[in-house]
């Protein structure tokens, strides 16, 4: 679904992404794991065409993100870090706005909106202004909007940040279900999340992929069998090198 070749991105003299090559397939739930400043958000911004690479290419369902940006983005649902939303809109107005940008007609929108309201329990806040919502609800609204177009690729940047344990559990269950037939990419630095979700773990540090593996293989890399320890071993080794 996503093919990435020789991806490089610099910000001035800082090399944010260095030579990334990846092939991401349908049915995978991929967690991008890495310390703060590793390049996870930059990588996601490159995948969603928010920024363009200095060299290399990204193909989303055979569409080059730079040359066919609109076509490529029609397959992607993206929730950026901290779920930015238009606070002056009500939840319904916001969902309608996103639906219009995706050319969904009214009947399709209403049908999908009803499903989403049910799935994410938004009925009590549907006519409420977004700026008055709690962080948990804001997250749900952001994810709901990303799902309106039924994207084949769902990209979530630190989706459980600030959620309570119940909300985290619900969201993870949803991601697992959605990931069965689609591609889900989740950026996180929470190990518990990696274990709960991933079918594939990609470890990024200093803009490079340092491990592309499964949760079990990652666990096997530490004597105690913990992902947390394996992560610390790998990233600290790399930073010493």
């Amino acid at each position: 679904m996503i093919e990435i070749k020789n991806l490089h991105k610099n910000f001035g003299r800082i090399k944010a992404i260095k030579n990334i090559n990846l092939s991401l397939k349908q049915g995978e739930i991929i967690t991008l794991l890495g310390p703060n400043g590793a390049g996870k958000t930059t990588f996601m911004r490159l995948l969603t065409g928010f920024i363009f690479p200095d060299s290399g290419e990204i193909k989303i369902l055979n569409q080059n993100i730079e040359h066919n940006r609109i076509e490529a983005l029609s397959h992607i649902g993206y929730v950026p870090e901290n779920s930015p939303l238009y606070g002056d809109m009500t939840v319904f107005e916001y969902l309608k706005f996103i639906a219009k940008l995706h050319h969904l007609n009214d009947s399709v929108f209403i049908e999908r909106c009803q499903n989403i309201i049910k799935t994410f329990s938004l009925s009590e806040v549907i006519n409420q202004k977004i700026e008055t919502l709690s962080k948990g609800f804001r997250h749900r609204v952001a994810i709901s909007a990303a799902l309106l177009s039924k994207p084949k690729i769902l990209i979530l940047d630190e989706p459980t940040e600030g959620l309570d344990p119940n909300q985290k559990h619900e969201l993870r269950e949803f991601i697992k279900t959605y990931g069965k037939n689609n591609l889900v990419i989740v950026s996180t630095h929470i190990m518990e999340e990696v274990e709960a979700l991933s079918t594939r773990v990609i470890l990024i540090n200093k803009g490079k992929i340092i491990k592309d593996t499964t949760t079990d293989e990652l666990k096997a890399l530490s004597p105690s069998g913990s992902i947390d320890e394996a992560f610390r071993n790998i990233t600290s080794n790399r930073s010493h090198q």
Partner: protein, 243 residues
């Protein structure tokens, strides 16, 4: 593309009325316009069959108020992080830029419409040259479009609202007041074509033509070019910032 431009336009225009900004601007526009018409413009002293006292100050009033309208268009998106959300939707940058621009321009149209009762009222008292006044209204609408386009473009460069306001105000005033006639003397131009080209660059010349009742194809082309250039720069700015 038109549908998505309209979607952005609707969102932005309704956004103005969700904050006190729209109501403040409408009130400020009416107050300043009426003050400048009757007090500064000596409305009852001058011959006002073309509402000269009213249209004389519109250029400056728009230069003062439009930056407040456009400063938030991109700066707010940048500040709140919604720019990432908006630009990762399957829409062209042209649609986003045009949607934002038209929302500001149509708001200016609404501002102008608030003065129509004044026009009607004065019509009852005096014998007015209504064709001329209509031409002046079109001129006002076009100059507001130029200032809106400049404001959109400046807002795309800046994160801060105040900086965006000051830069737009400054640039709008320069563009509306600069007179290129000095170039004629500077380069000792004597042929008619060169002089006409130089004079046609003056913003005020086109506005004066329109308040004088000449809508003219050349005036419309001039204003639309002045609108298109900042909008094109706005699109380029967004693309540049991606790289």
């Amino acid at each position: 593309m038109i549908y998505q431009t309209f979607t952005i336009f609707q969102k932005e225009l309704s956004g103005y009325f969700k904050t006190p900004l729209a109501y403040f601007l409408i009130s400020a526009y009416i107050l300043i316009s009426m003050f400048s018409t009757f007090y500064l413009g000596a409305f009852f002293v001058l011959n006002n069959t073309e509402l000269f006292s009213f249209f004389f100050f519109q250029n400056d009033i728009f230069a003062l108020l439009i930056p407040a309208l456009t400063m938030r268009l991109w700066a707010e998106e940048r500040r709140s992080g919604t720019m990432e959300l908006l630009l990762t939707q399957p829409i062209s940058y042209t649609s986003v830029v045009l949607g934002k621009f038209f929302s500001a321009w149509i708001f200016c149209f609404m501002l102008l419409c608030t003065t129509i009762p004044f026009w009607i009222f004065i019509n009852i008292i005096y014998q007015l040259d209504n064709i001329n006044i209509l031409s002046s209204y079109i001129g006002c609408f076009l100059i507001s479009g130029v200032f809106c386009a400049i404001g959109c473009c400046i807002s795309a460069f800046n994160k801060g609202l105040v900086v965006a306001y000051i830069c737009t105000l400054f640039l709008s005033l320069i563009i509306s007041t600069v007179n290129f006639d000095f170039l004629i003397g500077q380069f000792n131009l004597s042929d008619d074509v060169s002089i006409r080209i130089i004079q046609s660059l003056n913003f005020s010349k086109h506005y004066n033509d329109m308040t004088g009742g000449q809508v003219g194809f050349d005036n419309i082309i001039y204003y639309f070019s002045m609108i298109a250039l900042p909008l094109w720069l706005n699109i380029l700015t967004i693309e540049y910032k991606k790289n």
